[in-house]
């Protein structure tokens, strides 16, 4: 197979949500000497972009988006051992820190945002679910992200988003990061009331806003 064919096969494997095909092709591509970064950025990432378009158009649902993200993750795991040697030459990525706030054990929306941000070239630091404010603040301090994404599915946990923003202020970090909030009960009014920069109406719209912020940051 030529490099072009390997890349096309990786892309199609992602679109088809085919775990085995992607892992097999990734292994073969590495053994054939294909550049690991190229396999990911020109093979898998374009596949994820197509999946994202299909999601946006309604052809694919959340389930397909999640599975495609997992297929890519398993493919990248095959490639990872080969990529480490060249890692230092990679351009630095724009970072995003994501978390479901303390008390909230829901992460589907957050994970979708994480997957889509990854496709857009962000390095995503996902802190998981039920994350206390101090841990979020520490992650912002450590990683210096452009975006902090906070998620809550319960009206009972929504106020924790405000507590995180207050904690960022107390740590002197509020002006250094854009805060985007999301989740079913989170309204624009609520986001404004706690001092967030934006409320994501849905995953796609939220990622679009993050991408705008990242571009503005790059122009600086």
């Amino acid at each position: 197979m030529t490099e072009k064919q390997y890349l096309a096969a990786l892309k199609q494997g992602i679109i088809n949500l085919d775990f085995e095909a992607v892992k097999k092709t990734a292994k073969e591509a590495m053994e054939a000497g294909i550049d690991p970064s190229t396999a990911i950025t020109e093979g898998m990432v374009p596949g994820m972009a197509v999946v994202g378009q299909k999601f946006e158009s309604g052809e694919y649902f959340l389930s397909e988006l999640v599975v495609a993200g997992e297929v890519m993750k398993e493919g990248v795991e095959v490639i990872n051992p080969y990529i480490k040697a060249t890692e230092s030459t990679k351009p630095q990525k724009v970072k995003a820190v994501l978390a479901s706030v303390e008390g909230d054990n829901h992460d589907l929306g957050k994970n979708i945002v994480g997957t889509l941000l990854g496709v857009q070239g962000f390095e995503v630091i996902d802190l998981g679910m039920d994350v206390p404010a101090d841990r979020i603040v520490a992650a912002v301090k450590e990683n210096n992200p452009v975006v902090l994404g906070l998620s809550a599915l319960l009206t009972m946990t929504m106020p924790k988003m405000g507590e995180v923003i207050e904690a960022l202020k107390a740590a002197g970090l509020r002006d250094k990061v854009k805060v985007i909030v999301g989740g079913t009960p989170v309204t624009g009014e609520f986001a404004e009331s706690i001092g967030a920069d934006h409320r994501a109406a849905n995953a796609l719209e939220g990622v679009q806003k993050c991408t705008e912020w990242a571009k503005a940051e790059e122009r600086r």
């Binding site: 949500l17 649902f61 389930s63 999640v66 997992e70 589907l108 929306g109 039920d130 009206t155």
Partner: protein, 378 residues
């Protein structure tokens, strides 16, 4: 004509007839008991008890519980041991759990699982064994007791667990990290076999529920069109609802399903189901289907609308505005029942405001009547 009781009001609307006033009620477990609750009930707020019509027994399954520390957090680990293997789950509990009722915390939060029963493909056969060895036995005492306590002050409904595929999605595999979708893609045969086993095992439970004295059976579930996409809904949910509805309708009872999420993308499929009551449907901003549109679309159904918790966070004035807007959206107000909350405990101020809007909502609703309610509150 004598004023209807709260029970008559709820059930008249639920059977698609016109009540004297727009019915509204509070679920018992979401209701604080006190002066504001008394005031709101005096305004016509009914109560709703949700109680199980059965007990269940698992045969040849040993269950043990112990407290363990996982990643620095105290959790309760529950292990099930069967002749075909063992599975376990971890549960985190908020403050007050076991000190109040029904394993609820002081903030009315149920324990949540930090580790699910199904973690890998090897766990399916154990859970399938447990399912196949679960027996359901009718026990109508909790329902009869609540009906006796409540009288005409509200309604008692049967509580059933999530439907078979939602047991897998929400309870056993879990949606965290998209795990259910990943399992469904990687191990389709295992998911399908377990689903079929649960569905078969449930027949006895549905028959018991259908014959209980409660007038309405809540067929579990927590449907959201984001989590439950149209393909899943059509393949796994609709057939189960058909099966349940047949049994429930044969006994002259009504069937309701909890759908408090965004169901816009499955609304045309929901319309085709035999469900009588779409329970907890939330108006925007939490839901994505305005109640007026839902009533037009679901012409053979009744909506028990759940009041959006996100509006409560904005305070009584926002509650008043949202409630009045909602009333204007549903004229003349038939086939509709208001639930004060389906999610959490409502503050005295918010509950008083909502009930002060609803207490004078006589049917049929008109724009003039709603304007008058608004004037009386300004």
């Amino acid at each position: 004509m004598a004023e209807m009781t709260r029970y008559e009001r709820i059930m008249t609307a639920s059977r698609k007839n016109r009540a004297d006033k727009l019915p509204f009620f509070h679920f018992w477990r979401h209701s604080q008991i006190g002066w504001a609750e008394r005031e709101c009930r005096n305004r016509g707020m009914g109560m709703c008890w949700v109680r199980p019509p059965y007990i269940q027994k698992m045969h040849d399954v040993e269950m043990t519980e112990k407290q363990v520390v996982d990643s620095g957090v105290n959790v309760l680990r529950r292990t099930y041991t069967t002749p075909v293997g063992s599975i376990w789950c971890d549960e985190k509990r908020a403050r007050g759990t076991e000190q109040w009722h029904a394993l609820r915390s002081w903030d009315d939060i149920a324990p949540w699982q930090t580790q699910r029963l199904i973690k890998g493909p090897e766990d399916y056969k154990v859970l399938k064994y447990m399912v196949e060895n679960t027996e359901y036995i009718a026990d109508y005492y909790p329902i009869e007791q609540a009906m006796d306590w409540l009288g005409d002050d509200g309604v008692v409904i049967d509580a059933l667990p999530h439907s078979p595929m939602q047991m897998l999605m929400i309870d056993w595999i879990g949606s965290e990290g998209g795990r259910f979708y990943i399992h469904h893609a990687k191990y389709p045969d295992l998911v399908e076999e377990l689903y079929q086993a649960v569905s078969k095992n449930r027949d006895a439970m549905y028959e018991i529920a259908a014959k209980s004295p409660a007038p309405v059976t809540a067929c579990g579930d927590n449907v959201d069109g984001v989590l439950v996409n149209p393909r899943l809904f059509e393949k796994y949910f609709m057939p189960e609802y058909e099966k349940e509805a047949k049994l429930i309708h044969d006994q002259g009872k009504l069937m309701c399903v909890h759908m408090d999420g965004r169901i816009g993308n499955i609304k045309h499929l929901v319309a085709k189901t035999p469900i009588d009551i779409i329970e907890a449907l939330h108006a925007p901003p939490m839901g994505d289907l305005p109640i007026g549109e839902a009533l037009s679309l679901f012409k053979d159904k009744v909506i028990w609308t759940g009041y959006p918790g996100s509006v409560y966070t904005l305070g009584p004035e926002a509650v008043k505005k949202h409630a009045l807007d909602l009333l204007r959206d549903v004229l003349p107000g038939d086939r509709l029942v208001f639930e004060v909350s389906t999610e959490n405990i409502v503050s005295n101020e918010n509950m008083r405001m909502l009930t002060s809007v609803l207490e004078n909502a006589t049917l049929p609703l008109t724009t003039e009547k709603i304007d008058e309610i608004e004037r009386s509150l300004s």
